[in-house]
Every structure is written in C-alpha cells, then in structure tokens.
C-alpha cells in the first residue's frame, strides 16, 4: 500500500514515498495528476529519505505546483543537447533572452524577469508594468470561463507589482471557422464555439472591470484545432517608489478577495499535459470561474493599501493558489511561514486540506502586513466589501509549515522547494525540405487581392472590437479602429494615461506562426521586427518587449530545436535593436488529439511617445498626396498569405536585417516627429498590396501606384505580396516632399504613387494595369468574412 489514510477527522493521506520503487513513483505522479517526471519524483523520494518520514498529500501537491512547468519553466530555463548527447545550450533563457537584457543594461528598465510583470520607466515619476499570459487549455474546455479568467489572471499579475491596470491586449488563435465538422476528432469543440466563447469571455471581464481592451489580433491555422491560443495582456501604471516587496518575519499573511472553492484545482499541472479526448471529464475542475466585480473591488482596495503604504509585499494568487503565493513571498524575502489552513474562507466545506492549499479560485491576492498596520488594512478592504483574512504569519525559519485544525499537514523547507528542477531536452534539426513553388504570375491580380483581403487572419475584426470597451478611462488616443468610417485596422494603440501630460504609451504586437512552419529563427526575428515596426508606425519609441512562447511538447526533438532557434533570434534581435525583453512566459504541451500546434511566438511591445498629438494613423488622409514605400522589398514569400492562396508554404521566409531596419525605423520616427507624415501603415501579411488597399479604403481615398519605380525586373505579384520585414507605406503632402526626401536619404525609400479623389484603387507596372478595383468593393470584401 502506497497510500495510508490518516486517523485525523479530515481527509489526509500519507504517501510512503521512501519505499516506493521507480514504477510506484510514476504511478503516484500520474494517479495524483502531479505531472512530475521520474527524475523529479526520485528527488522527492531522496528528500523524504533524508527527512526519515512519509510524505503527506498536501506536501506532494505543493511540490508538484512549485515544480510545475507553469511555475518554474523548467524546459526553457534548462539545458538542451543533441541526439548524440552534445550540449547545444545551457540555461537557455538565462543565456539568450535574459542575457541580452543584462548586456543592454538600460537605465529605464526598472524590473526585469523577476516578478509578476516587467517594469519600465514612463516619465520619471511613473512606471509602466506590462505582462502577457496565456490561458490555452482552460479555453479549450470552457472558452468563456477560460478566456475571462485569463484576463482576470493577468490583471492580478499587474496588481501583483502594485500597478493600476489601465489597458488590456489580447491575441487569439483558432482553427479556421469553416473547418469541416465531420473532420473534428472526438472530444474537441468546434472552432466557432471556441471563437465565440473566447471573444465573449475576454470582452466580459475587461468591460466589467472598466479596463479598455485596446490592441490585439486574431489568427487562424488548422493546427489550433482543439487547442486554441488565448494570450491575455495587461498594462499597468504605478507611481515610482511605490513598488515594495520586503516581507519581514512576524508579519501577517493576509489573504484577500474571493473565497476559496474546488474550482481550478490542478490548473498548473493540467497546463503541462496534452489535451486528450478525456480532458473534459478529468480536468474540468481545473477551469476556474471568474467574477470581474470581485476583482474590481479587490483592485480598489489593493491600490488604496499601496497609496497608504500599509503592506510590505503583495502577490497574486494564480497557478498553485495559496501554496505558491505564500511560499514565493516567504522565499523572496528569505523568510519562512506558518499557515493555519482552516482560517482560509471557503465557498463551501472542503474536507481535504490539500484542495484548499492548491485551489486556484480566482480574484484572490496575498499581502504581508505588519501587526501595526493590520487594523487599518482590514478597514480598507472592508470599505470595499472585500473579505480579507489573516491566515498565518511569516517567520525567520525558512520552513513552510501548514497546519489544519492544529495538526501539521505539511512542513518543507523553501531551500528544497525552490531548488527547482531543470530539464535537459533533446533537440534535432528538422529534416523537412521545403521548396519554393513554381507558378506563373496570375492574370487577374485584382481577384488575388480580394482573396487576400478576405483571408480571416487579414479580414476586418470590427465585429469583435466593438464588443470590447476600448474607450473606458477616456485615455485611448489612437484606437483599434481608425479612418473615415472608424473601421480601419490600426497598427498600434496609443494611450495618454496622465491627465496633465501629453506623454503617451504605445502598445503593439508581432506574431507570424506561418513562418515558424519553415524556420523558427526567422519567425521570432520577424515577430520582433513586426512588433517594433507597428509601434514605430504610430510614433512609438524606446521599446521594451515581452515574449510568449506557445509550443507543442518539448519532448518532440524537432519542436525543441525550434525553441532554441527562436530564443537565439530573440537574443540577436534584442541586442541588435537595443530593445530589451522585460518579461515573458511560455506555455508548452499545446497539443490536442496527438498533434502539436505550430510553433507560435507572440512578441508584445510597449513604447512611449513624448507627445500623443504627433501620433499618426494608417488611413489615407488627403487626395493628391504622395505615397512612398520605405524599406527593402525582397523576394520573400515563404509562409506568406499569397502562397497560402495556392496551398503552398514555400521556403523564402522573410529575414530581418537589423542594421538596415534600425535606419528605417529611426527615419520614420524623425518623419513623424517633424510632422511630415499624413498617414503611415506597416506592411505585414499580404505585403504591399494589402497594406495599400487598407490605407486607401480606410481613408476613403483613391490610390494610384506604379510598381515600376520599385523594380523594373521583379514580377508584379511578388512585389505586391512579398512580406519582407521592416517596411512602411507612408503618405506625404506634396508641400512636404522635399523635406521628406531629404530626411529619408540613406534609407531605402521609393515614391510609388499618389492618392486621388476617385474612389478607385489602381496598381500598374510599366504601363500595364495589374489591379483596378473600386474602394467600396475592397472594403466590403475585407469586412464580410468575420462580420
């Protein structure tokens, strides 16, 4: 017998781990859903042999939480070797992404990779906190609940660094909405069901909390069938000097917010398991239930506690619940803690202490508060009708002791808990040989453009954006929808968060999962370039980045190879662009029905701009202005939208040349500062053709372009639809032509046409008309698919 039930008047099991054979260890891990490997289980056994006692279920659960992929990122922080055993990378994250930030050593980076969110300076008096999380597996099972608690969770990350959440972002990935129902494997929910539920969940939480959702995108790929991606981001603002994390022994452990229930048990270990046909049944309890109003109250109270300087530390309750929050807070300040678990307020009676200890019920925060400040702190929570309870005390022991009804049910040292395991992952370079497709330029490029505009990833997301409140707080200066009809697709959002200052924050993102099918290095580099250029396009600068890896199982060596490649790209680009990463997150094991998702790296960017009144939008403004293409167009169509129309992937994936890109970026920034640009749009999926069409129909302004200026030799379709990075399309008033051209000297740029009063979109090359379409038709085609 491995398990022995205790004689206590509640449910507690002892696990005879010391005597367990390796096969028993595996059994324990799988029976209790611990998601711990054999190597990790052996370490646990070793520890209990030293302690000379049995383990309790409370303890094993706590270890599984703290050692989970979700909490300690053992794969990415670990080592990588090839199939022959040769080491390829050690401490991957630390030696790539984090190292770049360290080398850059920028004074405006205030807190990086240490806490719930990255923090950068805003205006010397305030700082910005930024974080993006994923909530993929819960959303696959229960899209509304999964997505809304994803938003709730990242907002608490921001509160967890004492910042006021001021804007949300979201990037979503689904299988195509018209995926044939008959082909959907058992146990997998249909893409439209997931899409509608996720969108509704995101909107509901942000809207209810009064936090505007200002930036995002939606992508479609068959590999997301059954495993949608839900990236939830949140930006916070905090006064400089209000960040404090300095827990001292004897201080109270204060648990505030919603009550604890059985919802969200095993959320983090669930995150490290592939989704299967039976996930719904076995893991439904892992999905939490959200209550945005509870979190709104909690937010008010936490910010009041901050402003009055009442607490010495705060952290959110996310993965692992109370167990992780208490242990983390103690460990961070070199303390220990004793928790009396029966004091945790419950939604309904729970008889097993381990369930209380690891429950991931939403809307809870943990604070450390001195005895002297306790009364006032409790008053602040009471004023907002938020329950706050002292559940224990910190001490100087470095032990985490858990009591339940006066009985010790766990006693482990923080040294053991936080000597987290690191994994060694085997990688192998994929052998797939991709080929460039060979076809003639289609006769009717107008039709091709219409098809590109109606691809769901490119098509208008207006129907979704209108269900998100992007106006609340009144600080959204550049909105997700722009132009003559307020429906054009903006490149980035600009906020003016302070009433008495024109200084702005710029939020953008970059995401190119299609490129990852060919080359993960190019995908990561392109996503970084895209996030930066979207930011630059509206007027952003001094940009900081977040990385969010969503991958299939790292136990697949070819996928693990891609991880290493992507991390290297992040390091190289970060150093070259002098753009630091300040925080990040990974979600591995995104698989469903035995198939991994395509490697997906989201790059989120936060920039600033000195004066929001200089911001530029993407809609063409005036007739008879000049249209310039800035940046180099190369024959780079691998993974492009254009090739996808022919069901081809190709191989010529867009590369990034940071030295050239930097020159382009800095010129665009100067042009914006000098007021030389009427509009500016970044080129991404669908290349020049799609970007120019969007600029024209969003501004209700005709356009005549001639590609001959760009290149007389290259094929028109390639010039139009290549997805080369680091490019912008800009509109310049004729009166500014000379100053603009003088400024651009030294960077690749080309005058390719002009805007017209006619509501027509015309593209020629060498006297031959390639495209001639009515604006209205382009606009309607673009709006129809997701209406």
């Amino acid at each position: 017998m491995l398990y022995k039930r205790s004689d206590f008047p509640f449910e507690l099991y002892f696990i005879k781990i010391r005597e367990a054979a390796d096969s028993d260890l595996k059994r324990i891990s799988s029976e209790r859903c611990l998601s711990l490997s054999l190597v990790e289980m052996r370490r646990v056994r070793e520890h209990y042999r030293k302690l000379a006692r049995d383990a309790t279920d409370v303890e094993l659960e706590m270890i599984a939480q703290i050692w989970s992929e979700h909490c300690c990122h053992k794969t990415l922080t670990g080592n990588f070797k090839d199939s022959k055993g040769k080491t390829i990378a050690t401490k991957l994250l630390k030696n790539t992404i984090m190292k770049a930030t360290k080398e850059l050593n920028l004074p405006w980076c205030k807190l990086v990779f240490k806490d719930n969110a990255g923090i950068v300076d805003f205006d010397g008096k305030h700082a910005l906190a930024f974080k993006v999380e994923t909530h993929n597996h819960p959303s696959a099972l229960e899209p509304f609940g999964g997505a809304s608690t994803g938003v709730g969770g990242v907002i608490r990350d921001i509160l967890g660094v004492w910042a006021d959440p001021i804007a949300n972002t979201d990037v979503l990935c689904f299988a195509p909405l018209d995926f044939p129902e008959k082909k959907i494997p058992k146990g997998i929910k249909s893409p439209p069901y997931l899409y509608n539920g996720v969108v509704a969940g995101i909107g509901a939480y942000g809207n209810n909390m009064g936090i505007p959702t200002v930036n995002g995108s939606i992508h479609f790929d068959e590999s997301y069938l059954g495993n949608p991606l839900v990236y939830c981001g949140c930006l916070g603002l905090l006064p400089m000097g209000k960040f404090i994390k300095n827990t001292k022994p004897k201080e109270c452990i204060l648990l505030a917010g919603g009550r604890t229930g059985k919802d969200g048990i095993h959320g983090v270990t669930f995150a490290s398991a592939e989704l299967t046909e039976t996930s719904e049944e076995s893991s439904r309890s892992a999905v939490q239930i959200g209550d945005p109003i509870e979190e709104e109250k909690l937010k008010r109270a936490i910010l009041r506690v901050r402003d009055e300087g009442l607490a010495s530390a705060v952290t959110d309750l996310g993965g692992g619940g109370v167990s992780c929050a208490v242990s983390e807070m103690a460990e961070r300040s070199g303390c220990g803690a004793t928790v009396e678990l029966e004091t945790v307020p419950l939604k309904y009676p729970i008889n097993a202490p381990w369930e209380i200890w690891v429950s991931e019920s939403q809307e809870r925060m943990l604070l450390s508060v001195s005895e002297a400040n306790l009364e006032r702190t409790l008053e602040v929570f009471e004023d907002e009708d938020v329950e706050a309870t002292v559940i224990g005390r910190f001490n100087d022991s470095r032990q985490i002791v858990v009591l339940y009804k006066d009985t010790p049910v766990a006693n482990l040292s923080t040294n053991f808990l936080y000597e987290s395991p690191s994994a060694t992952t085997v990688i192998r370079k994929p052998r797939t040989k991709f080929k460039e497709p060979n076809f003639k330029q289609p006769k009717n490029l107008g039709e091709i453009l219409l098809k590109l505009l109606s691809l769901p990833g490119t098509a208008s997301k207006e129907s979704v954006i209108h269900t998100y409140d992007h106006e609340v707080k009144g600080h959204t200066v550049i909105k997700p929808l722009q132009g003559a009809f307020v429906d054009g697709p903006g490149d980035a959002a600009v906020l003016k968060p302070l009433p008495d200052s024109w200084k702005g924050v710029v939020l953008s993102n970059g995401f190119n999962p299609q490129y990852g099918k060919i080359d993960c290095y190019a995908m990561a580099a392109s996503a970084i370039d895209e996030a930066i250029r979207n930011n630059i396009a509206v007027g952003g600068r001094r940009i900081a980045l977040l990385d969010n890896f969503c991958w299939g199982s790292p136990n697949r060596p070819e996928l693990a190879y891609g991880l290493v490649e992507a991390c290297k790209a992040c390091r190289d680009m970060s150093l070259a662009f002098k753009t630091p990463f300040i925080s990040g997150k990974d979600s591995l094991y995104n698989e469903s029905a035995g198939k991994p998702i395509t490697p997906s790296l989201l790059i989120s960017a936060v920039g600033i701009m000195p004066d929001v009144r200089k911001a530029v939008t993407m809609d063409a403004k005036k007739p008879e202005s000049l249209i310039y293409l800035i940046g180099e167009t190369r024959r780079e169509l691998g993974g492009s939208s254009y090739y996808s129309l022919f069901k081809q992937l190709g191989v010529s994936v867009p590369q990034v040349n940071p030295e050239k890109a930097k020159k382009v970026f800095s010129k665009v920034t100067s042009a914006i500062d000098k007021g030389l640009l009427l509009s500016c749009h970044d080129l991404s999926e669908g290349g020049l053709g799609v970007a120019a069409a969007e600029m024209a129909f969003s501004g209700d302004m005709g356009m005549e372009l001639d590609l001959q200026q760009l290149s007389s030799k290259e094929r028109g379709d390639f010039l139009l639809f290549s997805e080369s990075n680091s490019r912008f399309l800009v509109e310049v008033a004729p009166s500014k032509q000379r100053s603009f051209e003088r400024l651009m000297k030294g960077a690749p740029f080309c005058k390719i046409g002009r805007t017209t009063k006619l509501k027509e979109f015309v593209i020629e090359k060498g006297g031959k008309v390639l495209i001639a379409e009515q604006l209205e038709k382009l606009r309607k085609t673009w709006q129809e698919p997701l209406k």
């Binding site: 009064g210 109003i293 709104e296 106006e471 609340v472 009433p499």
Partner: protein
Amino acid sequence: MKRICIMRVAGTNRDYDTHEILSYLGAASEVVHMNEFIRGRKSLLDYDAFIFPGGFSYGDRIRSGAIWAKQLIYKLSSDFRKIADEGRPILGICNGMQVVVEAGLIPGLRGISEYPEAAMGVNASSKFECRWVYLKNFSRGNCLFTKNIPRGAVMRVPVAHGEGRFLLPKEEENELLRTLDRNDQVVFRYCDEDGGVAEGNYPMNPNGAFSDIAGVCNPDGNVLAFMPHAEDACFSHQHPDWTRKGLKGEMAGILIFKSLLSHLK
C-alpha cells in the same frame, strides 16, 4: 463651492473618467462609495449634485442597475427622495441611466414612481456595443444639463453598453412619447452626422432604443438619464478621427458638465 458627489458601488468603473473631467473644470467633485452613506459616515444632503457613473454595478445581476437602485430606495430612502424632490441635479450616465430608470426617477411623470415605468432592454444586436455615435440635442431648455448646448446641436460621443435600449410600456409608448415631448423631457436622440434622426437604423441607433432616445430627463429637468459617455468625448484627442480632421482642444461632450457647473453657480 458647490459639491458634486460621484457615487460608486462595487462594479462602478467610469467614476474615474467623470472625476477627471470635473477636476479639469475645477469643480469640487468627490468620488464617494455608497457604503459611506449607508454606514452613516457621510450624508447625501451635504452634496449639491449627484452623478451615477457608468460601470456594471453589482455585475448587473438581475437587471442592469437594479440592485443599486433598490439600495438607494431602501437604504437611503428619505435622503434619496429628498435630493430628487428638491430638484438637486442628478446625472445618470450609462449604468447610471439604468439606475435612475430602475429607481423610478425617469420618466417620473408623477414624481418618483414606486416601480420602474421605463426599462433598459438588451441591445437589439444582442451584443455589447462600443462605438462612436452622433446625438442631437432636442431639449427646448427644460433640462439643466443642456443649458450650454445649442438647441439642435449635433455632438459625437462613444457608447459602451450591453443594455442600453430605452423602452416604454409597449401599449402606451406613443402616448407616453407625446407626453415626454410635451414636457420637454426628450433630451438627446441618436442621429447621423448631419442631425437626421436614426429612425431605429443600426448602428446609428446602437441599441434599438425607442424613438432613438439616448437621453431623457424628468419633468422638472433636474434628473438626466443619459446612455452614451460624454465624459470620454470632452477633448479632441479622445475622438476617433482627430488625426484626419485636425481637431484641437475641447469637444462637445464637455458641455454637459459645463451646463451642470453653470447651473450650480
């Protein structure tokens, strides 16, 4: 200086926006949690005007605004009646409109009604709608919140709500509408850019409100129930197309708050 109370409860969120614009205008405004009044720490009677801001009070459970309205009636009963009866200005914005309708202040044809006599239905699109709309000022001067707004003026404001469809009892809606018109209670209607009323057309009328009504006041003109967010349309840079039109400075949304302040002077 006259004191303005921006009241809030759990789930209120546009109190920040409202407070920001009133502070900009130099008004003595204060965001006060309802608990302060219920627990007797503050008195409603100490304030000269009241704003019920937007948000999702108590998660809009039961019906939007319903719980907050009942709290006002039953927990602050006599003081609440008093401020309304005395003609102190009360502005309900968005969720605040839902609250004053639920509390029986609007339409208030025979004073405060015991039960709601109008309703805020779920948007005709059955979706939450965040978008910019145009409003036309129909007030002939009765409503104090339009004192500084020229009659017939068109203003642009955002809406952001899921339950903004103002409805009157179906069987007598036309008769009631005539009464409202006669009493000069219809203050704002959804319209197009040039002031042509929406006539129910979506998305010009974003929620399907009866007779395109976006703002309606009580017979005395001191209580305004207003669905859109004027507080987020006070400055050019809050507008969706300031980069096209070269807009600068203050915009029409601010006039509602200026009207309140000139009334209080």
